[in-house]
Amino acid sequence: MDQIEIELPSNVAFTTTSAIHDFIKSSPLQKLVNWGRKNSLWFMTHPMGCCGIEQICVGVAHYDTDRFGIMPRASPRQADVMMISGYVTKKYLPALKRVWDQMVEPKWIMMMGECAISGGPWWESYSTVINMDEIFPVDIYIPGCPPRPEALLDGFIELQKKIEAQQDRTVVPNPADIGV
Protein backbone atom coordinates (compact mmCIF):
# COMPACT_ATOMS: atom_id res chain seq x y z
CA MET A 1 0.00 0.00 0.00
CA ASP A 2 1.28 3.42 -0.83
CA GLN A 3 2.03 5.60 2.11
CA ILE A 4 -0.09 8.69 2.24
CA GLU A 5 1.85 11.72 3.15
CA ILE A 6 0.08 14.35 5.16
CA GLU A 7 1.47 17.78 5.32
CA LEU A 8 1.17 19.15 8.82
CA PRO A 9 0.95 22.86 9.38
CA SER A 10 4.05 24.08 11.11
CA ASN A 11 2.24 25.76 13.99
CA VAL A 12 0.55 22.54 15.33
CA ALA A 13 2.19 20.83 18.32
CA PHE A 14 2.46 17.11 17.67
CA THR A 15 2.14 14.83 20.70
CA THR A 16 3.09 11.17 20.78
CA THR A 17 2.18 8.44 23.27
CA SER A 18 5.75 8.44 24.33
CA ALA A 19 5.63 12.11 25.08
CA ILE A 20 2.52 11.62 27.23
CA HIS A 21 4.23 8.87 29.19
CA ASP A 22 7.32 10.99 29.64
CA PHE A 23 5.20 13.81 30.92
CA ILE A 24 3.29 11.56 33.31
CA LYS A 25 6.49 10.04 34.61
CA SER A 26 8.05 13.38 35.38
CA SER A 27 5.00 14.89 37.05
CA PRO A 28 2.84 14.23 40.12
CA LEU A 29 0.19 12.91 37.74
CA GLN A 30 1.75 9.45 37.99
CA LYS A 31 0.93 9.45 41.67
CA LEU A 32 -2.66 10.31 40.91
CA VAL A 33 -2.91 7.51 38.36
CA ASN A 34 -1.36 5.03 40.78
CA TRP A 35 -3.66 6.18 43.56
CA GLY A 36 -6.64 5.51 41.34
CA ARG A 37 -5.39 2.14 40.28
CA LYS A 38 -4.49 0.84 43.69
CA ASN A 39 -7.83 1.79 45.20
CA SER A 40 -9.96 0.12 42.58
CA LEU A 41 -8.49 -3.36 42.37
CA TRP A 42 -11.31 -5.41 40.97
CA PHE A 43 -10.50 -9.07 41.09
CA MET A 44 -12.00 -11.77 38.96
CA THR A 45 -14.08 -14.37 40.80
CA HIS A 46 -12.46 -17.46 39.55
CA PRO A 47 -12.49 -20.12 42.23
CA MET A 48 -10.41 -23.13 41.27
CA GLY A 49 -10.06 -25.06 44.50
CA CYS A 50 -9.90 -24.73 48.25
CA CYS A 51 -8.41 -21.27 47.89
CA GLY A 52 -11.48 -20.29 45.90
CA ILE A 53 -13.60 -20.69 49.00
CA GLU A 54 -11.40 -18.29 50.94
CA GLN A 55 -11.49 -15.99 47.93
CA ILE A 56 -15.29 -15.97 48.17
CA CYS A 57 -15.15 -15.42 51.92
CA VAL A 58 -12.81 -12.50 51.60
CA GLY A 59 -15.01 -10.76 49.06
CA VAL A 60 -18.18 -10.57 51.15
CA ALA A 61 -19.29 -9.72 54.70
CA HIS A 62 -16.89 -10.36 57.57
CA TYR A 63 -13.62 -9.76 55.72
CA ASP A 64 -15.22 -7.29 53.33
CA THR A 65 -12.53 -6.15 50.92
CA ASP A 66 -14.83 -3.44 49.60
CA ARG A 67 -13.33 -1.08 52.16
CA PHE A 68 -10.06 -1.17 50.17
CA GLY A 69 -11.87 -0.81 46.87
CA ILE A 70 -11.24 -4.47 46.12
CA MET A 71 -14.34 -5.95 44.58
CA PRO A 72 -15.19 -9.26 42.94
CA ARG A 73 -16.08 -9.08 39.26
CA ALA A 74 -17.51 -11.85 37.17
CA SER A 75 -15.96 -11.09 33.81
CA PRO A 76 -12.26 -11.00 32.93
CA ARG A 77 -12.88 -7.91 30.80
CA GLN A 78 -13.89 -5.92 33.85
CA ALA A 79 -11.21 -7.20 36.16
CA ASP A 80 -7.79 -5.84 37.08
CA VAL A 81 -6.48 -8.70 39.14
CA MET A 82 -6.49 -12.37 38.30
CA MET A 83 -5.96 -14.75 41.17
CA ILE A 84 -4.80 -18.21 40.26
CA SER A 85 -6.48 -19.80 43.22
CA GLY A 86 -5.78 -23.43 42.65
CA TYR A 87 -4.14 -26.19 40.85
CA VAL A 88 -3.37 -25.63 37.14
CA THR A 89 -3.57 -28.69 34.93
CA LYS A 90 -2.35 -29.31 31.44
CA LYS A 91 -5.97 -29.30 30.35
CA TYR A 92 -6.79 -25.98 31.96
CA LEU A 93 -3.68 -23.99 31.07
CA PRO A 94 -4.80 -22.92 27.55
CA ALA A 95 -8.11 -21.64 28.90
CA LEU A 96 -6.36 -19.82 31.70
CA LYS A 97 -3.98 -18.12 29.29
CA ARG A 98 -6.94 -17.02 27.21
CA VAL A 99 -8.70 -15.58 30.24
CA TRP A 100 -5.52 -13.69 31.09
CA ASP A 101 -5.28 -12.33 27.55
CA GLN A 102 -8.88 -11.12 27.71
CA MET A 103 -8.13 -8.85 30.63
CA VAL A 104 -7.28 -5.28 29.74
CA GLU A 105 -4.13 -3.49 30.82
CA PRO A 106 -3.13 -2.54 33.44
CA LYS A 107 -3.55 -5.95 35.05
CA TRP A 108 -1.93 -7.86 37.83
CA ILE A 109 -1.73 -11.50 38.73
CA MET A 110 -1.64 -13.10 42.14
CA MET A 111 -0.68 -16.66 42.96
CA MET A 112 -2.86 -17.86 45.77
CA GLY A 113 -1.92 -21.02 47.58
CA GLU A 114 0.72 -23.68 47.22
CA CYS A 115 -0.95 -25.46 44.30
CA ALA A 116 -0.63 -22.43 42.06
CA ILE A 117 2.85 -21.51 43.23
CA SER A 118 4.58 -24.86 43.00
CA GLY A 119 2.03 -27.60 42.46
CA GLY A 120 1.51 -28.01 46.19
CA PRO A 121 0.75 -31.54 47.36
CA TRP A 122 0.30 -32.67 43.75
CA TRP A 123 3.61 -31.42 42.42
CA GLU A 124 4.66 -34.81 41.04
CA SER A 125 1.35 -35.63 39.42
CA TYR A 126 1.11 -36.35 35.71
CA SER A 127 -1.47 -33.64 35.27
CA THR A 128 0.33 -30.74 36.92
CA VAL A 129 1.81 -27.66 35.33
CA ILE A 130 4.47 -26.35 37.67
CA ASN A 131 6.74 -23.34 37.16
CA MET A 132 3.74 -21.11 36.67
CA ASP A 133 5.94 -18.05 37.12
CA GLU A 134 7.54 -18.83 33.77
CA ILE A 135 4.15 -18.65 32.10
CA PHE A 136 2.49 -15.72 33.84
CA PRO A 137 4.09 -12.45 35.00
CA VAL A 138 3.32 -13.01 38.64
CA ASP A 139 3.15 -10.00 40.95
CA ILE A 140 2.32 -11.43 44.34
CA TYR A 141 2.70 -14.87 45.89
CA ILE A 142 0.45 -15.77 48.81
CA PRO A 143 1.60 -19.06 50.32
CA GLY A 144 -0.65 -21.30 52.38
CA CYS A 145 -2.80 -24.33 51.88
CA PRO A 146 -5.15 -22.56 51.72
CA PRO A 147 -4.02 -19.10 52.87
CA ARG A 148 -6.20 -17.54 55.51
CA PRO A 149 -8.35 -14.57 54.47
CA GLU A 150 -6.00 -12.33 56.46
CA ALA A 151 -3.11 -13.55 54.32
CA LEU A 152 -5.08 -12.80 51.20
CA LEU A 153 -5.84 -9.30 52.46
CA ASP A 154 -2.16 -8.87 53.19
CA GLY A 155 -1.41 -9.93 49.64
CA PHE A 156 -3.74 -7.27 48.32
CA ILE A 157 -2.10 -4.64 50.51
CA GLU A 158 1.32 -5.68 49.23
CA LEU A 159 0.00 -5.38 45.69
CA GLN A 160 -1.25 -1.89 46.48
CA LYS A 161 2.23 -0.95 47.70
CA LYS A 162 3.67 -2.32 44.51
CA ILE A 163 1.26 -0.31 42.39
CA GLU A 164 1.97 2.80 44.39
CA ALA A 165 5.65 2.56 43.47
CA GLN A 166 4.95 1.80 39.84
CA GLN A 167 6.28 3.93 37.00
CA ASP A 168 4.59 3.56 33.64
CA ARG A 169 6.92 2.21 31.05
CA THR A 170 7.99 4.35 28.13
CA VAL A 171 6.44 2.78 25.08
CA VAL A 172 8.83 2.92 22.17
CA PRO A 173 6.57 4.09 19.32
CA ASN A 174 6.29 2.26 16.09
CA PRO A 175 7.68 4.64 13.42
CA ALA A 176 4.79 3.86 11.10
CA ASP A 177 2.28 5.06 13.70
CA ILE A 178 3.63 8.55 13.92
CA GLY A 179 4.33 9.00 10.24
CA VAL A 180 8.09 9.16 10.50
Binding site: M48, C50, C57, G86, L96, P121, T128
Partner: protein
Amino acid sequence: MTHTTTQITSPPKPSEILLHLGPQHPLQPGPFLLDLKIEGETIREAELKIGYIHKGMEKVFEDRTYIQILPLTDRICYLASNSNNDVYCRGMEELLGIEPTDRAKYLRVLTNELCRIQSHLLGIGEYTTDVGFLTMFIYMVREREGIVSLLEAITGSRLNHNYARFGGVAHDLPPGYKEMALKTLGELKKLVKSHDEMLSSDSVYLKRTKGVGVLTASQAKELGVAGPPLRATGVEYDLRRVEPYLVYDDLDFDVITQTDGDVFSRVKVRLLEILESIYIIEQVLDQMPTGPYKQNVMPYITRPAPGEVYSRIEDPRGEMGMYIISDGSDKPYRFRIRGPAFATAQALPPLLVGTYVADVAAIAASMDSCTSEVDR
Protein backbone atom coordinates in the same frame (compact mmCIF):
# COMPACT_ATOMS: atom_id res chain seq x y z
CA MET B 1 -34.91 -39.86 30.21
CA THR B 2 -33.70 -43.43 30.03
CA HIS B 3 -31.94 -43.13 26.75
CA THR B 4 -30.70 -39.58 27.08
CA THR B 5 -27.02 -39.56 26.43
CA THR B 6 -24.54 -37.45 28.30
CA GLN B 7 -23.03 -35.83 25.25
CA ILE B 8 -23.87 -33.69 22.26
CA THR B 9 -24.36 -36.21 19.50
CA SER B 10 -24.60 -34.06 16.38
CA PRO B 11 -23.41 -30.63 15.26
CA PRO B 12 -26.01 -27.88 15.61
CA LYS B 13 -28.56 -27.45 12.85
CA PRO B 14 -29.06 -23.98 11.31
CA SER B 15 -31.83 -23.26 13.81
CA GLU B 16 -29.65 -24.22 16.76
CA ILE B 17 -26.57 -22.75 18.35
CA LEU B 18 -23.91 -24.15 20.58
CA LEU B 19 -23.37 -22.25 23.81
CA HIS B 20 -20.26 -22.81 25.90
CA LEU B 21 -20.49 -22.09 29.61
CA GLY B 22 -17.00 -22.19 30.96
CA PRO B 23 -14.33 -23.20 31.78
CA GLN B 24 -14.13 -19.85 33.55
CA HIS B 25 -17.67 -18.83 34.33
CA PRO B 26 -18.95 -16.91 37.33
CA LEU B 27 -21.77 -19.32 38.06
CA GLN B 28 -19.41 -22.14 38.70
CA PRO B 29 -17.84 -23.20 41.95
CA GLY B 30 -14.86 -24.40 39.94
CA PRO B 31 -13.80 -24.73 36.33
CA PHE B 32 -15.84 -27.03 34.12
CA LEU B 33 -17.22 -26.65 30.65
CA LEU B 34 -20.93 -27.02 30.05
CA ASP B 35 -21.78 -27.17 26.36
CA LEU B 36 -25.40 -26.51 25.54
CA LYS B 37 -27.06 -26.97 22.19
CA ILE B 38 -29.95 -24.58 22.23
CA GLU B 39 -32.82 -23.87 19.91
CA GLY B 40 -34.39 -20.57 20.75
CA GLU B 41 -34.48 -20.61 24.52
CA THR B 42 -34.78 -24.35 24.94
CA ILE B 43 -31.89 -26.69 25.57
CA ARG B 44 -31.85 -29.63 23.18
CA GLU B 45 -28.67 -31.35 24.29
CA ALA B 46 -26.13 -30.77 27.00
CA GLU B 47 -22.67 -32.06 27.62
CA LEU B 48 -20.54 -31.57 30.66
CA LYS B 49 -16.79 -31.59 30.17
CA ILE B 50 -14.80 -32.00 33.33
CA GLY B 51 -11.21 -32.60 34.31
CA TYR B 52 -9.96 -29.04 34.33
CA ILE B 53 -8.60 -29.49 37.84
CA HIS B 54 -7.91 -33.22 37.62
CA LYS B 55 -5.12 -33.65 40.13
CA GLY B 56 -4.39 -37.33 39.58
CA MET B 57 -5.04 -37.94 43.26
CA GLU B 58 -5.45 -41.67 42.92
CA LYS B 59 -1.97 -41.95 41.43
CA VAL B 60 -0.43 -39.62 44.00
CA PHE B 61 -2.03 -41.56 46.85
CA GLU B 62 -0.44 -44.79 45.63
CA ASP B 63 2.93 -43.14 46.18
CA ARG B 64 2.26 -41.88 49.71
CA THR B 65 2.31 -43.71 53.01
CA TYR B 66 -1.01 -44.18 54.76
CA ILE B 67 -0.37 -41.42 57.24
CA GLN B 68 0.75 -39.01 54.51
CA ILE B 69 -2.53 -39.56 52.69
CA LEU B 70 -4.54 -38.37 55.67
CA PRO B 71 -4.03 -34.60 55.16
CA LEU B 72 -4.42 -35.01 51.40
CA THR B 73 -7.91 -36.47 51.78
CA ASP B 74 -9.00 -33.01 52.95
CA ARG B 75 -8.30 -31.65 49.53
CA ILE B 76 -10.63 -34.06 47.72
CA CYS B 77 -13.53 -31.84 48.60
CA TYR B 78 -12.53 -28.92 50.74
CA LEU B 79 -16.06 -28.21 51.91
CA ALA B 80 -16.46 -31.72 53.27
CA SER B 81 -12.95 -32.24 54.56
CA ASN B 82 -14.03 -33.80 57.84
CA SER B 83 -16.21 -36.31 56.06
CA ASN B 84 -13.33 -37.24 53.79
CA ASN B 85 -10.96 -37.71 56.74
CA ASP B 86 -13.59 -39.76 58.44
CA VAL B 87 -14.33 -42.09 55.54
CA TYR B 88 -10.62 -42.69 55.06
CA CYS B 89 -10.01 -43.32 58.74
CA ARG B 90 -12.98 -45.67 58.95
CA GLY B 91 -11.61 -47.64 56.04
CA MET B 92 -8.17 -47.79 57.59
CA GLU B 93 -9.59 -48.76 60.96
CA GLU B 94 -11.30 -51.70 59.32
CA LEU B 95 -8.06 -52.71 57.62
CA LEU B 96 -6.02 -52.29 60.80
CA GLY B 97 -8.66 -53.88 63.01
CA ILE B 98 -8.86 -51.04 65.50
CA GLU B 99 -11.83 -49.17 66.86
CA PRO B 100 -11.94 -45.45 67.69
CA THR B 101 -12.49 -44.52 71.31
CA ASP B 102 -15.99 -43.56 72.41
CA ARG B 103 -15.16 -39.92 72.85
CA ALA B 104 -13.51 -39.81 69.43
CA LYS B 105 -16.67 -41.17 67.83
CA TYR B 106 -18.69 -38.35 69.31
CA LEU B 107 -16.07 -35.78 68.35
CA ARG B 108 -16.11 -37.03 64.77
CA VAL B 109 -19.88 -36.82 64.60
CA LEU B 110 -19.64 -33.30 65.98
CA THR B 111 -17.16 -32.13 63.35
CA ASN B 112 -18.94 -33.99 60.56
CA GLU B 113 -22.17 -32.24 61.33
CA LEU B 114 -20.50 -28.83 61.68
CA CYS B 115 -18.91 -29.49 58.32
CA ARG B 116 -22.26 -30.39 56.84
CA ILE B 117 -23.72 -27.13 58.11
CA GLN B 118 -21.00 -24.95 56.61
CA SER B 119 -21.04 -26.85 53.35
CA HIS B 120 -24.80 -26.45 53.01
CA LEU B 121 -24.58 -22.77 53.93
CA LEU B 122 -22.04 -22.09 51.21
CA GLY B 123 -23.91 -24.32 48.78
CA ILE B 124 -27.12 -22.41 49.29
CA GLY B 125 -25.18 -19.16 49.15
CA GLU B 126 -23.61 -19.92 45.78
CA TYR B 127 -26.95 -21.09 44.51
CA THR B 128 -28.75 -17.93 45.57
CA THR B 129 -26.18 -15.79 43.72
CA ASP B 130 -26.96 -17.76 40.61
CA VAL B 131 -30.68 -17.14 40.87
CA GLY B 132 -29.94 -13.46 41.43
CA PHE B 133 -30.54 -13.29 45.17
CA LEU B 134 -27.24 -11.77 46.23
CA THR B 135 -28.47 -10.65 49.64
CA MET B 136 -28.99 -14.23 50.72
CA PHE B 137 -25.47 -15.11 49.59
CA ILE B 138 -24.02 -12.47 51.87
CA TYR B 139 -26.19 -13.65 54.76
CA MET B 140 -25.14 -17.23 54.18
CA VAL B 141 -21.42 -16.46 54.11
CA ARG B 142 -21.84 -14.35 57.22
CA GLU B 143 -23.50 -17.20 59.08
CA ARG B 144 -20.92 -19.63 57.75
CA GLU B 145 -18.15 -17.63 59.42
CA GLY B 146 -19.66 -18.50 62.81
CA ILE B 147 -19.56 -22.22 62.03
CA VAL B 148 -16.06 -21.93 60.59
CA SER B 149 -14.98 -20.36 63.87
CA LEU B 150 -16.49 -23.29 65.76
CA LEU B 151 -14.57 -25.72 63.57
CA GLU B 152 -11.43 -23.67 63.88
CA ALA B 153 -11.69 -23.79 67.67
CA ILE B 154 -11.58 -27.60 67.56
CA THR B 155 -9.30 -28.32 64.64
CA GLY B 156 -7.15 -25.21 64.32
CA SER B 157 -7.91 -24.66 60.68
CA ARG B 158 -10.56 -22.84 58.72
CA LEU B 159 -10.94 -25.11 55.75
CA ASN B 160 -8.87 -28.27 55.50
CA HIS B 161 -9.31 -29.57 58.98
CA ASN B 162 -7.33 -32.82 59.01
CA TYR B 163 -8.98 -33.83 62.25
CA ALA B 164 -9.70 -37.54 62.28
CA ARG B 165 -6.92 -40.01 63.03
CA PHE B 166 -6.74 -43.80 62.90
CA GLY B 167 -8.51 -44.78 66.08
CA GLY B 168 -9.21 -41.29 67.33
CA VAL B 169 -9.01 -37.61 66.57
CA ALA B 170 -6.22 -35.07 66.62
CA HIS B 171 -7.29 -32.80 69.48
CA ASP B 172 -9.78 -32.68 72.29
CA LEU B 173 -12.36 -29.95 72.68
CA PRO B 174 -11.06 -26.61 73.98
CA PRO B 175 -12.36 -25.49 77.41
CA GLY B 176 -15.75 -23.80 77.39
CA TYR B 177 -16.56 -25.16 73.96
CA LYS B 178 -20.07 -26.34 74.75
CA GLU B 179 -21.32 -22.91 75.80
CA MET B 180 -19.68 -21.26 72.81
CA ALA B 181 -21.15 -23.78 70.39
CA LEU B 182 -24.64 -23.68 71.85
CA LYS B 183 -24.66 -19.89 71.66
CA THR B 184 -23.60 -19.79 68.00
CA LEU B 185 -25.87 -22.64 67.00
CA GLY B 186 -28.84 -21.10 68.80
CA GLU B 187 -28.36 -17.91 66.83
CA LEU B 188 -27.89 -19.85 63.61
CA LYS B 189 -31.11 -21.76 64.19
CA LYS B 190 -33.10 -18.54 64.38
CA LEU B 191 -31.35 -17.10 61.34
CA VAL B 192 -31.82 -20.20 59.21
CA LYS B 193 -35.51 -20.27 60.10
CA SER B 194 -35.89 -16.67 59.06
CA HIS B 195 -33.94 -17.28 55.83
CA ASP B 196 -36.14 -20.26 55.10
CA GLU B 197 -39.18 -18.06 55.60
CA MET B 198 -37.69 -15.41 53.33
CA LEU B 199 -36.97 -17.91 50.57
CA SER B 200 -40.37 -19.58 50.89
CA SER B 201 -42.31 -16.33 50.69
CA ASP B 202 -40.50 -14.46 47.92
CA SER B 203 -42.81 -14.67 44.91
CA VAL B 204 -40.08 -14.00 42.34
CA TYR B 205 -37.87 -16.63 43.85
CA LEU B 206 -40.70 -19.15 43.95
CA LYS B 207 -41.49 -18.57 40.30
CA ARG B 208 -37.88 -19.21 39.37
CA THR B 209 -37.53 -22.38 41.38
CA LYS B 210 -40.86 -24.19 41.79
CA GLY B 211 -41.33 -26.86 39.17
CA VAL B 212 -37.94 -26.17 37.57
CA GLY B 213 -35.49 -28.97 36.98
CA VAL B 214 -37.80 -31.66 38.25
CA LEU B 215 -36.33 -35.04 39.04
CA THR B 216 -38.66 -37.86 40.00
CA ALA B 217 -37.65 -40.56 42.43
CA SER B 218 -37.28 -43.25 39.78
CA GLN B 219 -35.29 -40.92 37.51
CA ALA B 220 -33.00 -39.93 40.36
CA LYS B 221 -32.34 -43.57 41.19
CA GLU B 222 -31.69 -44.37 37.58
CA LEU B 223 -29.25 -41.49 37.27
CA GLY B 224 -27.45 -42.76 40.35
CA VAL B 225 -27.56 -39.62 42.45
CA ALA B 226 -27.55 -39.62 46.22
CA GLY B 227 -27.68 -37.04 48.95
CA PRO B 228 -29.92 -33.95 48.94
CA PRO B 229 -30.93 -34.20 45.24
CA LEU B 230 -32.23 -37.72 45.89
CA ARG B 231 -33.87 -36.89 49.19
CA ALA B 232 -35.65 -33.96 47.55
CA THR B 233 -37.51 -36.50 45.44
CA GLY B 234 -38.91 -38.27 48.48
CA VAL B 235 -36.49 -41.18 48.78
CA GLU B 236 -35.43 -41.62 52.36
CA TYR B 237 -31.87 -42.68 51.59
CA ASP B 238 -29.30 -41.45 54.05
CA LEU B 239 -26.30 -43.57 54.93
CA ARG B 240 -26.46 -42.27 58.48
CA ARG B 241 -29.70 -44.22 58.73
CA VAL B 242 -29.22 -47.00 56.19
CA GLU B 243 -25.76 -48.02 57.36
CA PRO B 244 -25.29 -46.33 60.75
CA TYR B 245 -21.67 -45.53 61.44
CA LEU B 246 -19.91 -43.93 64.44
CA VAL B 247 -22.69 -43.21 66.93
CA TYR B 248 -25.49 -42.23 64.59
CA ASP B 249 -27.67 -45.10 65.74
CA ASP B 250 -27.63 -43.67 69.29
CA LEU B 251 -28.74 -40.26 68.11
CA ASP B 252 -32.20 -39.08 67.32
CA PHE B 253 -32.63 -37.39 63.96
CA ASP B 254 -34.96 -37.35 61.00
CA VAL B 255 -33.98 -37.96 57.42
CA ILE B 256 -35.14 -34.81 55.68
CA THR B 257 -37.15 -35.40 52.54
CA GLN B 258 -39.24 -33.31 50.22
CA THR B 259 -41.59 -34.59 47.57
CA ASP B 260 -41.33 -32.35 44.53
CA GLY B 261 -37.76 -32.98 43.41
CA ASP B 262 -37.41 -29.52 41.89
CA VAL B 263 -34.84 -26.80 42.51
CA PHE B 264 -36.85 -25.41 45.40
CA SER B 265 -37.04 -28.79 47.15
CA ARG B 266 -33.33 -29.44 46.83
CA VAL B 267 -32.53 -26.18 48.55
CA LYS B 268 -35.24 -26.73 51.12
CA VAL B 269 -33.71 -30.10 51.99
CA ARG B 270 -30.37 -28.41 52.63
CA LEU B 271 -31.93 -25.70 54.77
CA LEU B 272 -33.81 -28.23 56.88
CA GLU B 273 -30.73 -30.44 57.13
CA ILE B 274 -28.90 -27.54 58.72
CA LEU B 275 -31.54 -27.44 61.45
CA GLU B 276 -31.37 -31.23 61.83
CA SER B 277 -27.58 -31.09 62.12
CA ILE B 278 -27.88 -28.48 64.84
CA TYR B 279 -30.22 -30.84 66.67
CA ILE B 280 -27.68 -33.66 66.32
CA ILE B 281 -24.86 -31.47 67.61
CA GLU B 282 -26.90 -30.47 70.64
CA GLN B 283 -27.38 -34.14 71.49
CA VAL B 284 -23.71 -34.89 70.87
CA LEU B 285 -22.60 -32.10 73.20
CA ASP B 286 -24.97 -33.41 75.89
CA GLN B 287 -24.03 -37.06 75.59
CA MET B 288 -20.29 -36.64 75.02
CA PRO B 289 -18.54 -39.23 77.21
CA THR B 290 -15.29 -38.48 78.98
CA GLY B 291 -12.23 -40.55 78.31
CA PRO B 292 -9.30 -40.59 75.89
CA TYR B 293 -9.86 -38.96 72.53
CA LYS B 294 -7.34 -41.13 70.71
CA GLN B 295 -5.61 -44.47 70.96
CA ASN B 296 -2.38 -44.42 72.86
CA VAL B 297 -0.25 -46.07 70.22
CA MET B 298 -0.28 -44.30 66.90
CA PRO B 299 2.56 -45.57 64.72
CA TYR B 300 3.89 -43.33 61.99
CA ILE B 301 4.45 -46.19 59.59
CA THR B 302 1.30 -48.22 59.27
CA ARG B 303 1.35 -51.54 57.49
CA PRO B 304 -2.13 -53.04 57.31
CA ALA B 305 -2.52 -56.69 56.42
CA PRO B 306 -3.19 -57.40 52.74
CA GLY B 307 -6.83 -56.93 52.01
CA GLU B 308 -9.31 -54.44 50.76
CA VAL B 309 -12.06 -52.29 52.12
CA TYR B 310 -14.85 -50.17 50.72
CA SER B 311 -15.95 -47.64 53.30
CA ARG B 312 -18.61 -45.05 52.71
CA ILE B 313 -20.34 -42.34 54.67
CA GLU B 314 -22.94 -39.66 54.13
CA ASP B 315 -21.09 -36.63 52.85
CA PRO B 316 -22.88 -33.26 52.70
CA ARG B 317 -23.38 -34.05 49.00
CA GLY B 318 -24.26 -37.72 49.14
CA GLU B 319 -22.50 -41.03 49.27
CA MET B 320 -18.74 -40.70 49.69
CA GLY B 321 -16.86 -43.94 49.28
CA MET B 322 -13.26 -45.02 49.30
CA TYR B 323 -11.98 -48.32 48.02
CA ILE B 324 -8.57 -49.09 49.47
CA ILE B 325 -6.52 -52.13 48.47
CA SER B 326 -3.58 -52.95 50.69
CA ASP B 327 -0.79 -55.28 49.68
CA GLY B 328 0.85 -55.33 53.09
CA SER B 329 3.30 -52.52 52.43
CA ASP B 330 3.21 -49.03 53.89
CA LYS B 331 1.51 -47.59 50.81
CA PRO B 332 -1.88 -48.47 49.34
CA TYR B 333 -1.83 -50.62 46.22
CA ARG B 334 -4.90 -48.93 44.82
CA PHE B 335 -6.89 -46.02 46.16
CA ARG B 336 -10.23 -45.33 44.54
CA ILE B 337 -12.30 -42.31 45.46
CA ARG B 338 -15.97 -42.50 44.72
CA GLY B 339 -17.20 -38.96 45.11
CA PRO B 340 -20.83 -37.96 45.47
CA ALA B 341 -20.35 -34.87 43.32
CA PHE B 342 -19.14 -37.03 40.42
CA ALA B 343 -22.44 -38.87 40.41
CA THR B 344 -24.40 -35.65 40.75
CA ALA B 345 -22.47 -33.95 37.96
CA GLN B 346 -23.11 -36.87 35.65
CA ALA B 347 -26.84 -36.48 36.24
CA LEU B 348 -26.79 -32.80 35.30
CA PRO B 349 -26.88 -32.96 31.45
CA PRO B 350 -30.05 -35.11 31.23
CA LEU B 351 -31.66 -32.85 33.78
CA LEU B 352 -30.97 -29.78 31.66
CA VAL B 353 -32.45 -31.14 28.43
CA GLY B 354 -35.75 -29.45 27.73
CA THR B 355 -35.30 -26.59 30.18
CA TYR B 356 -34.71 -22.93 29.41
CA VAL B 357 -31.31 -21.29 29.21
CA ALA B 358 -32.25 -18.92 32.01
CA ASP B 359 -32.79 -21.85 34.37
CA VAL B 360 -29.43 -23.49 33.76
CA ALA B 361 -27.74 -21.55 36.52
CA ALA B 362 -30.43 -22.39 39.04
CA ILE B 363 -30.50 -26.09 38.19
CA ALA B 364 -26.74 -26.52 38.04
CA ALA B 365 -26.20 -24.73 41.32
CA SER B 366 -29.01 -26.55 43.09
CA MET B 367 -27.19 -29.83 42.48
CA ASP B 368 -24.33 -28.35 44.57
CA SER B 369 -21.52 -30.16 42.87
CA CYS B 370 -17.95 -29.62 43.94
CA THR B 371 -15.62 -29.49 40.95
CA SER B 372 -12.56 -30.44 42.93
CA GLU B 373 -14.16 -33.70 43.91
CA VAL B 374 -15.62 -34.36 40.47
CA ASP B 375 -12.17 -34.08 38.93
CA ARG B 376 -10.08 -35.41 41.81
